[in-house]
Every structure is written in structure tokens, then in C-alpha cells.
Amino acid sequence: MGIINLIKISITALLRNKGRAFLTMLGIIIGIASVIVMVSLGQSSTQNVRSELSSMGSNMIMIMPERQMRGGVDVGSGNSLTQKDLKSLQNTKYVRYVSPSVSSQAQLVFGSKNHSGSLQGVSPDYLEIRKYGMASGIMFTDEHVRSNAKVCVIGQTIVDELFGSGADPIGKSIRCGRVPLKVIGVLESKGQNQMGQDQDDIVLVPYTTIQTRFAGNKNRNNFNMIFASATSEEESELAATEITYILRNNHNIKEGDEDDFDIRTQQELLSTISSITEVLTLLLSAIASISLIVGGIGIMNIMYVTVTERTREIGLRMAIGAKQRDVMLQFLSESVILSLIGGIIGIFFGLIIAYVASKFMNLPYVVSQSAIGISFLVCAATGVFFGWYPARKAANMDPISALRYE
């Protein structure tokens, strides 16, 4: 029997019982739809994290001091990053921007309004490293840094809190404790980051200003952190190696001893987060595919019922010349067609649900072509796998007793 006749026979047989065909497909529809939803939400959140991280600067490198033990004795104080390190990092091959970071908690006051936040002492490069833009005014300069200038650049949240939204704070002074800081610039709004932190709740001041004027700071010559930016995303690792070399040299660390600092590249973070979301996606998809198996068993169940119910039809087909193979293929293709159509409907619904859900959760909408392709193959395989035994049962019937079946 030709393939076209085979498909024709199977489809007409399925159309004879539309309601049941649909109910049989339902399991597959739900299974495939949930797999598609899981995979595409997983991928969209991965993508979301990626774009979030790269908006923070995908070639950003963070250097943090670390307590260091040598022979069981604490020799470092956790204040290993110094002005000297900053200087040497400014003359390197793979590092383009460097900015130290020191911070201080402060109550910000303007007129009758106040806001508790933290001051972050950085150098002008910080803007480039963290990919902040200026909404108005200017960033402070190296000259401001040299002179411990009492200036600041603030984020949109600070503007809203202290000045009221829409107000122009440029030129006005905020009081931080006893120190007045003149606002010389406002940062472009960045919104919340992946962890839900408000990235606009920020006050940038020259790091020297923090070190010299905010008495609470114990470590006048040390930095909490150094931010750097590699020349390119690809060169992040090279830059990290270079920084390690320079800092070990600066800190006189002997070969074999551990670093007294910790370097984190954005690339590392990215791959860590990606692998976490990938595992999660895989896990969720695995759970979802259980419903696919249940759907497949549903098909097998119905195919068994169908074969028994259509015993006389099978006998008749054999009597008029259907070979065993023809009968086998007919029932097999019925189950494959069922699961494929179920799969198509499932993919369709899955994409719609994923779309709605991603809009709802504020995620980018990702159509995973590989998930669609794999779903399709899985459906065909499900049809064959779960249709096999019922089809074989049909093909092995004895035509005479099948024809007599009541």
C-alpha cells in the first residue's frame, strides 16, 4: 500500500471518531505545551539575566580584598587594596578603566526632606565601567578627585526623594552630616536590577572626598573594592590574569601563597548564572515531560481500545487484501498522526502561554526553535512507541476470528 493511501486510510479512520481523537490528543497537547512553556520561560529568563548583566557592563571586573591566612596567622587585614594598586592598574594592557570604591552610610538632607542612603566614592571612570549615562549636568573630574571636592552626582531616585520629581537639582547642595555636597550631575535612570535593587538610589562622590571628609571611615588609604573594565568582553580573562599578577607583585605575595584579594569577572558571573538557569530549565522540562509520557500512555490506552473495538474492521481489511504490515502501519500512523497533531496544537498553545506569561513576568519573549523541533520529534517518537503494541496486536489478529468478533 502506498504511503498516501496509508495516510488517507488513517485520517479517515480518525475522522470517524473526532471526539475521541481530540480527547486522546489532549494528553499530548498538555504535555508538549508545558514543555514548550517551561523551556521558553527558562530561556527568556536566562536571556533576561544576560542582558541585565551586560547592561551592568559585560567586561566589568570586580576586585575585592580578602582576609589572608599564612601559617594559621591572620596577616592581612582585609584592607589590601591601596592607592598604589590603583595607580599600577591604570597602566596595563587589558584594563581600560579603573575606579576604586569606598562607601559611607549617610543621612541625606535637602531642605525639609531627607533620605537615608549611602555615598559611594569612586573615580570618573566608574561611569564607563558600570555603563551609567548622564541625564543632566556633568560627572566630576580627576581634578575634583585631586581636590577632595565636595561635589556629587546623584541618581533619579535621590532626585525624586529630595527634590521632587521633575525638579532640577543641579547646583543645589545636599547635606550629608556636616558636609554639604553640591549636585553637579544627574545619572540616567537604570531602573531595578535582576535582584530587585534600585540602581537609581545612588550618590557618587570623588573617592578622596569620602576618604578625607567622612570621619566614620576607618581605612583612609584603603578601598572597599576596585572596579575595572577589560578592553573587551573576550579579554576579561586576560585582564583578570594581568590584575592578579600586578596585585600579587604589589602585595609581595610569594609563589604558592594565596591571593589576598578576590577577582570576579562579569563573564564568570554570567556563566554561573546561566548554568543555574539552565539546570532549572532542564529540571522543569523534565517535570513537564512526565505529562508527555502520561499523554503517550493515554494514546496507547485509546489505541488498545480502538483496536479491540475495530476488530471486525481489521478482519475485513485483511479479508479484502490488507497485509499484516498494512494493518500495522495503519494503526501506527493513526497514533503518530494523533500525537503529531496533538504536538502541533500543544506547541501552538505553549507558545501563546509562554508569550502571555513572559509579558506578565516582564521577561523577554523567546521562541525556542530547538524546543519546537525536539517536541516535534518527541511527538513522532511517542506515537510510534506507544502505538507499537496496539498496532502489533491488530496486525497479529486472525482474520476469521476477527470477522466473527461481536
Binding site: 500500500m1 502506498g2 493511501n5 488517507k8 486510510i9 479517515t12 470517524r16 471518531n17 471486525r312 474492521e313 478482519g315 475485513l316 481489511r317 485483511m318 479479508a319 479484502i320 487484501g321 490488507a322 497485509k323 499484516q324 504490515r325 498494512d326 482474520p399 476469521i400 470477522l403
Partner: protein, 251 residues
Amino acid sequence: MENQEVIQIRDLHRDFQVGSETVHALNGINLKIFQGEFVSIMGTSGSGKSTLLNILGCLDTPTSGEYIIHGTSVSTLNKNQLSELRNRRIGFVFQNYNLLPRTSALDNVQLPLMYNPDISSKERKERALHALEAVKLADRIHHQPNQLSGGQQQRVAIARAIVNDPVILLADEATGNLDTRTSYEIMTLFQELHSKGKTIAFVTHEPDIATFTTRTVKLRDGKIILDENITQQSAATALAEYEKNMKHDQI
């Protein structure tokens, strides 16, 4: 073509094993059926009629003995070849019609040709229409079985049996489910097909139905106890007679 053997059976046995006992359903059958014969196979219940017909139709294979259909010895064929033989050379009519439910008469009749890859869909449809015309159902081709009377359903089944132009038409109690009048109609149809040259083997246990054939073979306990040519009665005449009597009875 006259006097050519369509079917040739020599010392045919068919045993069934039921538990420890062996049932000799057919016990040494010798039979030849010639081109253009209309044979009725008679006998009491359990005498082996259906068993014989199933073997004639290559649905079943003999335990021993030889069966040659249209020059082909059946015992040499494998399952697939038997299927093909049924598809190309045999037409079956069953007592309970065995039409596919929720399927139009036209599609039901086309079914055997679906299993013949040499026949295009166009030719398939033409031949099915032709067969439905031959059974006088040209105006019912799109009806489904549940929209047809028993007699009409059996006509569809007959059309399906002749659509592949078989060398022999096999019917097992084809009138068994029908009332007298409809039985006569179906027999009229069989006689028409016979007069056009079809070879027919017809199982029945109604003696009056057997009179419409040209030869009677009687079985008892798996053996042929009588095999004679008879004078064929006209089913059309019997039908007319019957209808006249019915009218008479009503008055």
C-alpha cells in the same frame, strides 16, 4: 474460457484442535468449480460450510490436501502472497455485511482497491462507481451504512466484492440477515452478476435460496454427500410471485 477450472480441491482436510480433541471440520473434500458456475454450498449447522468457504477465500489454509485457485497452488504461498491473492482474485460477501461504519458507500466500495498500489485514485473511484451502478445503488453513493437498509447495505458489500473483478465471488449466508423479499432481490442481483459471467460460490442453508443457483454441493460432517447440477430458478420471477402473494394476502 468455458469449462476452465477456477477452483480445484483434492483430498482437502481441515482439522481443529480443541483441547485434547481434534475436530475434523473438513474431512477429505474433492471439488472443482468451473468458470461461470453458480454453486450453492448447503449443509446443516456445523457441517463445515464456512470452513470450506474460508479456505476457498484463502483466509484459512488446509491442514492437508491441495487447493489450486486460478492455476495457483495456495499451499506454496506465504501470508503476504495470500493477502495479495485475496485482494486481486477474490470477492467476499458476509452475512453481516461488514461495512465500515460512518463511511460512505463509495469509500466502502473503494476499500479493496486502496490495497492495490497499481490503481490510481481516479481509476479507483471510477471502478467503485461502476460497481455501485451494477448493484443499482448509483443514487446512494454518499450514504453511510446507518442510512441504508439491510438489503442496501448488502448491495454495497456486493459492490465491494466485485470492484476488484475477482475470479470468484464467495458469499457466506449473504441472505441470512434479510427477509424473504430482500433475499430474493439480492439473489436477483447475484443471478445478474452470474449471467454476466461471474463465478460464484454461495453458502446457504435455505433450500429455496439454493434453487437460484446452477449447482448444489451438500456437506455433512466435513464430507461432500451430494454434488449435482440443478435447473436454475429465476429469482426475479420468484420475487414477482412473492409480491403478488403478499398483495393477495393483504386483501
